[in-house]
Amino acid sequence: MSVTGIAPHPRPQPNPRWATPRRPRVGVVKFSSCDGCQLTLLDMEDELLAIAERFDIVEFAEATSNRSHGPFDVLFVEGSVSTDEQAEEIVQLRRQATTLVAIGACATSGGIQALRNLGDDDAFRNSVYPRPEWIAALPTSKPVSDYVAVDAELYGCPISGRQLLELLTSLTVGRRPQLPDEAVCAECKRLGNTCVLVAGGESCLGPVTRTGCGALCPSFDRGCYGCFGPREAANTVSLANWFGEQGKGGSEVAREFAKFNVGAPAFRKIVERER
């Protein structure tokens, strides 16, 4: 993925006069996920009416009983691919979508459920379920981009409403979506947050995590959990080494990275090294 999360391959630019004469058809679908990212869209109370005016929401099970199997001008996909059916369905959906946007940590890195990618899937299944043979899941939980081409990704657990709105706005007015791929630190410094890592010695994934949340946790004096996943060139090795030098044990360091984006290679690498 490129800097903005927009796939680098050439594709038609949104037409400035695109919304006329018809409203773009928008779908929202989900795979393995908690629905929190879809709720982010529903929570945007101030903008929801304007969005519904501008876009024809033809598929959004969380919000409307209208159903559609496409085609879609824009299709938002929440959740990770973790069953055979989902692996087939995403390919069908891709064919129906002009622009496919993966939303949230599950759809962009596999989500918290990607913890199973690092362990023994059968052992998990046997210890959790009384009838494990009834469970038909893939041994891994993977991002949508592992199965089909993705035009844009919105990160976060959950996604940021502000970024979702920016993506929609960029489509309607015709501009490159402003979804900067910079560290949470940049936002902390602009806001005037004191660095919890330098001043408090806390573990914070901010330096290697993509901004987008508005530096939410450090604004409340807590280290970043890495909800928005590793940013470009995320030097997790250097940060993990520093945590180690500050006296944190390997398992403690591994736990920092083994969260919502454990499936992202830059985070997973540290978990595998330290645990």
């Binding site: 037409n15 501008r54 015709g174 250097s238 080494n241």
Partner: protein, 674 residues
């Protein structure tokens, strides 16, 4: 007890008892001035509004080390015994977010017809209490960068006007302080209204300006005794000794620039996280980006300037590429600019030795160590650099006049459109704004559409009633510009940059070498050459394109070719049977051109690799560097040398270029990732 002479001379020295600091703060706050000073906040020392002495960090120290800062409770009464915290005064003089321009004209007007205007600014006057010597130096650096160039930053100038500077001379050196090495401190020499030196029971106060004297006038102060004055001096001397000189700076700019190929850059990149912290806590880093704000329809639109950093990937991005993808490139850019090319650009180092970048690096990278490793001094001898020649005190800035802004937004009207290729359109724009009509070949404009970005686009022809732009739909904004129709409005700022040095063509052979869309910025040059044909020996245009269909201005080129006014050699990379011309790259064409090469001036525009290959051929043929002119592409957000994106060595490509001779660029041309 006597009151200070209200007209107290600069240089007068007084003693202020510590319990009178409250009165000092009240005196600073007169005339609705907001007093900003150090406070204990969020577990460190921050700068913020100070309304009484209670807000100041009494008896609190700050233990700074690479990657660590810890508050220390000393329990004494001293108020200013801390090294600097993460904030610098730029948070007030150069805030992290500023609304830059707003599309106005009310709700009824369609967005595209609106005017782009700077919003009125409501800026309260400020008194800065507790400004250290390094920070006075940093304010001066910012003044030079932001307010004293050809196009001053008006927002900065407004925020710097009427600042009262109450300096404090450091009585302790922090673990990451190195102002003594950079020649900016620890002694406070000048650039203040009042300067405080904290001693046992109060402050020795030096008066720097009449404004400072006026603040002191109402306070019950005594002239300082010799003992008090000496006490203060001894304290400053102790700090200098405590800090030592940890970074030999003699010849550092030259050493750094020569170290562009050092393997150390890649080693640093293994530790550097490119998190941007060093640049955002730096009191002199000034790079910004402009973002767009709008509602869903793009109707209510404005642009916002935010702090940015040369450590982000997006920073050096251009349509279709990026000049600094590797973290090692970004670290080299930052360090080489800060300690090296800054000196040539602005007459001083960009570093003031405050140590914030070391303390607030989340993995504790120490720039002093990196500088010593990447650009070691020739001998181990560590020589203290003398205090740099006091830079002229920055005079109060005059009110910024409209003309001084240089490039106000100008509304133009599309009077004609012509499709050149499948993705490229020429727009003829009408305006009566004379600087645009009388611009120079090679200059560019930055068009803005509401809620969209402002790409830099070269002017491709000048007309009596306006100018033309040839635009390739490379991204969303250029696609919108290409889609404009006759009668619609386009707001532009410009002309910007330095154009082609046309006079260099007089009496010489001229080679114009370009490819694809690169012909656009050269067309006004060709127009000029043809208008002055009698004074030029020979004009040779070499034009390459990917396919015949990717060539611009084909009808015009055919007419020119037939007229025989100039020689034209065209070549394409790929062609079908309908193409009867040459196939191959443009360097093969210039290889065969007849020229008196030592008397030739060459003008080149194209991708950097194509230009490098072309330059190699021209070198072989004996064209000297002074007469090889190239135009460079870089990311540009402001176009006037303020945002920092287009930095290349000691140049801003936007205002110093985009046209450069190879002799000017020197080694800056052709280094990957620079």
């Amino acid at each position: 007890m006597v009151a200070a002479n209200p007209a107290g001379d600069a240089g007068e020295t007084y003693f202020l008892r510590r319990e009178l600091v409250n009165e000092l703060i009240q005196a600073l706050a007169t005339d609705d001035r907001e007093v900003i000073g150090p406070r204990v906040e969020d577990g460190t020392i921050r700068l913020g509004p100070v309304s009484s002495a209670v807000d100041l960090p009494r008896g609190v120290g700050l233990d700074n080390a690479p990657g660590k800062a810890r508050l220390v409770e000393r329990g004494d009464d001293r108020l200013f015994d801390q090294p600097v915290g993460p904030d610098s005064w730029k948070r007030w003089t150069f805030p992290p977010r500023v609304t830059q321009a707003v599309w106005t004209d009310g709700d009824g007007t369609p967005a595209i017809e609106r005017r782009l205007e700077n919003p009125p600014r409501q800026i309260t006057k400020k008194a800065f209490l507790g400004v250290r010597a390094c920070e006075i130096a940093a304010l001066r650096v910012h003044d030079r960068v932001l307010a004293q160039g050809p196009t001053p930053d008006r927002d900065y100038a407004a925020r710097r006007r009427d600042n009262l500077i109450v300096a404090v001379e450091c009585a302790v050196a922090g673990g990451t302080c190195f102002c003594a090495s950079m020649g900016t401190g620890p002694e406070v020499r000048d650039g203040f209204d009042l300067a405080l030196s904290e001693i046992d029971d109060g402050f020795v106060v030096r008066v720097g300006t009449p404004a400072g004297a006026a603040v002191l006038a109402g306070l019950p102060v005594n002239p300082a005794t010799d003992a008090q004055f000496e006490h203060a001096q001894a304290s400053a001397a102790r700090v200098r000794e405590q800090m030592g000189v940890t970074l030999p700076t003699d010849g550092l700019p030259e050493r750094l620039i020569a170290a562009a190929d050092s393997p150390r850059w890649a080693e640093i990149a293994e530790r550097c996280i490119a998190c941007t912290n060093c640049t955002l806590v730096c009191p002199t880093c000034f790079c910004t980006s402009v973002g767009q704000r709008s509602d869903l329809d793009g109707q209510a639109a404005s642009s916002e300037r935010t702090w940015d950093s040369c450590f982000t990937l997006d920073f050096a991005r251009v349509a279709g590429g990026n000049f600094r993808t590797r973290v090692s490139d970004r670290y080299r850019q930052w360090l080489t600019h800060k300690f090296g090319t800054w000196t040539t650009q602005f007459g001083s180092s960009g570093c003031v030795g405050c140590g914030r970048c070391i303390t607030w690096c989340p993995v504790g990278i120490d720039v002093r160590d990196e500088l010593m490793a990447v650009a070691p001094p020739p001998e181990a001898a560590v020589v203290a650099r003398p205090m740099i020649e006091a830079l002229p005190v920055v005079a109060p800035l005059p009110p910024v006049r409209h003309e001084q802004h240089g490039t106000p937004p100008v509304k133009t009207t599309v009077v004609d459109t012509h499709r050149e290729t499948h993705d490229t359109v020429t727009l003829r724009l009408r305006t009566d704004y004379q600087p645009l009509i009388n611009g120079k070949p090679g200059q560019f404009v930055m068009p803005s559409l509401p809620a969209g970005a402002s790409p830099a686009i070269s002017i491709s022809r000048f007309h009596n009633d306006g100018f033309s732009l040839t635009v390739r739909a490379a991204g969303a904004s250029t696609a919108r510009i290409c889609a404009l129709e006759r009668g619609e409005t386009l707001t532009v700022r410009g002309p910007m940059g330095r154009g082609w040095p046309v006079e260099q063509a007089l009496g010489r052979d001229v080679m114009v070498i370009t490819g694809g869309i690169g012909l656009a910025p050269l067309r006004p040059l060709l127009d000029w050459l043809i208008a002055n044909r009698d004074h030029i020996a020979r004009i040779q245009l070499s034009y390459g394109a990917r396919t015949p269909g990717d060539r611009l201005y084909t009808a015009e080129l055919d007419t020119l070719l037939l007229s025989g006014v100039i020689d034209i050699a065209q070549t394409v990379d790929r062609a079908g049977p309908e193409w009867l011309g040459r196939v191959g790259v443009v360097t093969q064409v210039i290889d065969r051109i007849m020229c008196s090469c030592d008397k030739t001036t060459a003008f080149i525009c194209g991708p950097e690799r194509m230009m490098q290959a072309t330059v190699d051929v021209l070198h072989e043929r004996g064209v000297p560097d002074e007469r090889i002119w190239v135009t460079l592409e870089r990311h540009m957000d402001c176009g006037v040398g303020l945002c920092g994106h287009c930095q290349l060595g000691r140049f801003f490509v936007c205002k110093d270029g985009p046209v450069f001779s190879l002799a000017e660029l020197g080694p800056a041309f052709g280094i990957e990732g620079l």
